[in-house]
Assembly symmetry: C2
Homo-oligomer: 424 residues x 2
């Protein structure tokens, strides 16, 4: 035990760890797909390329309220030189295509979205014309062919790619697919992520609480993170710090999961049995990462499936999750991260960082007039979940920096709203 | 009808419309709250201030693997001047508080998270000490009182605000609340937003489709937008362009909804009956907004509830929704917008805009080395949902600009991932 307590011999850099992770992820097969109703597909990852089934619009239609006519008949029309047309009918959206037909000198009143009468090739806007007596129209402006017309196929031509495989389905994708009367889409099954908590001090949320025990809040955090990233958490329970139990839980968990997260027991103390357990079942690829919080983070491969060893401390677990588990959930569904909100702000005080370590500093960003102020909370305290609930951003301090000075401009990734807007 | 087809007499500016909207929203009562299990609260809006029920940590505990002792005993310890301690036991996380006690010259082995023995006031890290023979410890580094200890209440002190009312519940809030063994939270009921589609040409998604009819894709889009913003859409169906039907649907819809959206029929043509209907039932406050797309957008108040008249065209409807409906859903739950991802990029070509109108240009942002390139898609074409599925960002062109030149640096709000990352 003395040897084990001497600290990590070497630490892997974050970039190197990510490179090793990519090596694993490249070999992961994509999840199978399931058919879901379009109306329930919001936020899921599209599992197929979906192409336009027909042209949209499906027919030339009026883009404005006005009068459909033959463009050539309007040439030279102006307020001082109105041109007269005979109104031979009117068309509404939903009217049958080909219901009416016009000849030279004739016009049909059309509402936005209405099909054009046969032979018409333009629409003059209502405000550029006037029905001077019943059935007699004066046009004050010339229009060119196809003016004010939404042409067939202008939005989507049949066969065009509408939603690409791997796209996270947003409201506009649902709108576009609905246009084609598509009622069901194939989406990737949610990656199943096992969560195994280790630690004899932990009790489940809602248990009777004794002073020496603590609620397994990290599991609640990790589960919610898995949901947020589009995965399905599988609760593998809490296991005591005993090798036999840990081995069994990991083995059984991997039978039903695509990847597995352990929390706790991943440092190098007497009770830190997880890395040894992963070694026995498969291979530990990274253990001990040059970052803080989260130094004891690691991952390995067991029967082709990634096993992530995260800290039992909530903040360290979150950093490890975002760095390593989130990309895994993405790759299983062949998708990528959503864009992250970032701001440039000014540090309110100096922060020191250890060179050689990548630091994830929780900060509180507020807005004063047009300036973002960035207040560092704590760099240390990987157990302090209050630094997450009080912070609204993360400032990453790279390995080659000793920190930042007060007043330095820094880029912060926001994960919660900025204070000022709370006053609005 | 001629008069009605002459166009909007005046347009309200976007800012003025928002100011009028705020006047309405100030008077809206907040939604009632419901009790949900903590594990199902992700993404809901917290409906109460939640305070720390007890101190966390609940007792002083070791922050590292090492040896708990009395700090004063280590003074002057160094590698060349080790100080010896008698090891009198060991403590693990989960062990009972007060289980062991030490006297001067004694130490207890502790794992991270373990309670301290009585009388101990510091922990020396494992790497700074060595058990030279069974039960005999040599310490090579002095520690000061409370060093390497997570002190009681360091994370949360009893009574401290943990989650503020109006907070959108994120994984870290769930983690924090779980620490207090909180199993249920009060969240705001989801605002019920009625959606009434007008247009004789519309058919429901999944219906048999005739050439002259179009699927009500705007409803699918709006429903998904309501879900995305934390509301509950209430489908009020499609109504033909007939005043009596529209009046009835709005009246009945408002009986069960907190606010109502109509789509279509909001321009100034013959079939645009919605503004008149809202006028009859209550008051139209804004109709015709100086923006594009979305000029015919408007809203009013009927029996104290907001009614939003959005375009039937998907892009215009989306712009109107984001500007006016989203803040309404927020206010009903006393919450604010999440931070939006924005980038600064370089326009690939000139875009013209009408002065006096605020324009929402759909753009496609890609990354080339370290530069974001911003390719304008179309400014017009409020019906072209392809401009949303092809775009990944929106560039707002203010009223006082005639547009931007090629190469101009512009700020773009991203709503989908940037192309380069798709290759990663």
């Amino acid at each position: 035990m003395r040897k084990e307590m001497e600290g990590f011999k070497t630490l892997t850099s974050v970039d190197k760890a990510l490179q090793i992770l990519r090596g694993i992820l490249e070999k992961l097969e994509e999840k199978d797909v399931v058919d879901v109703p379009l109306t329930e597909s919001l936020g899921r990852i599209c599992g197929e390329n979906i192409y336009a089934r027909f042209d949209i619009p499906s027919f030339d239609r009026s883009a404005v309220d006005g009068y459909a006519l033959i463009a050539e008949d309007t040439f030279s029309a102006s307020p001082s030189n109105p041109i007269q047309f005979k109104i031979v009918g009117s068309l509404m959206p939903g009217d049958e295509v080909g219901k009416l037909e016009i000849n030279r000198g004739e016009a049909v009143e059309v509402m936005t979205g209405a099909p054009l009468p046969l032979n018409a090739n333009a629409v003059v806007m209502a405000e550029d014309a006037k029905e001077v007596e019943p059935g007699l129209l004066e046009v004050y402006k010339q229009v060119h062919p196809f003016q004010n017309i939404s042409r067939r196929g202008e939005d989507f031509q049949a066969g065009k790619l509408v939603v690409r495989k791997g796209t996270k389905i947003k409201p506009w994708h649902i709108g576009a697919l609905a246009s084609f009367n598509i009622t069901h889409v194939k989406v990737f099954s949610k990656p199943k992520i096992g969560i195994l908590s280790t630690g004899s001090e932990l009790v489940e949320l809602g248990s009777e609480l004794k002073i020496s025990k603590i609620v397994n809040s990290t599991k609640a955090l990790i589960k919610a993170l898995v949901y947020s990233c589009g995965g399905e958490p599988v609760d593998l329970g809490i296991v005591e710090d005993e090798m036999k139990l840990i081995l069994e839980k990991i083995k059984n968990g991997l039978k039903i999961c695509d990847a597995l997260i352990t929390t706790g027991g991943t440092s190098i103390g007497k009770r830190d049995l997880v890395p040894a357990a992963v070694s026995r079942l498969g291979e530990v690829l990274v253990h001990g990462i040059a970052m803080r919080p989260g130094k004891p983070t690691g991952f390995g491969l067991v029967e082709g499936k990634p096993v992530f060893m995260l800290s039992g401390f909530p903040v360290a677990a979150l950093i490890g999750f975002n760095l390593f588990v989130k990309p895994t959930i993405n790759v299983l569904q062949r998708t990528v991260d959503e864009p992250a909100p970032k701001i440039i702000g000014r540090l309110t005080r100096r922060v020191a960082s250890l060179t050689g370590m990548r630091s994830y500093l929780r900060v509180k960003v507020s807005k004063h007039e047009d300036v973002y102020l960035v207040e560092p909370l704590r760099l240390t305290g990987s157990g302090l979940i209050s630094t997450l609930t009080e912070a609204n951003g993360i400032l990453v301090i790279p390995e080659n920096m000793e920190g930042y000075e007060e007043g330095d401009e820094v880029e912060v990734e926001l994960f919660d709203p900025v204070a000022e807007s709370l006053m609005a």
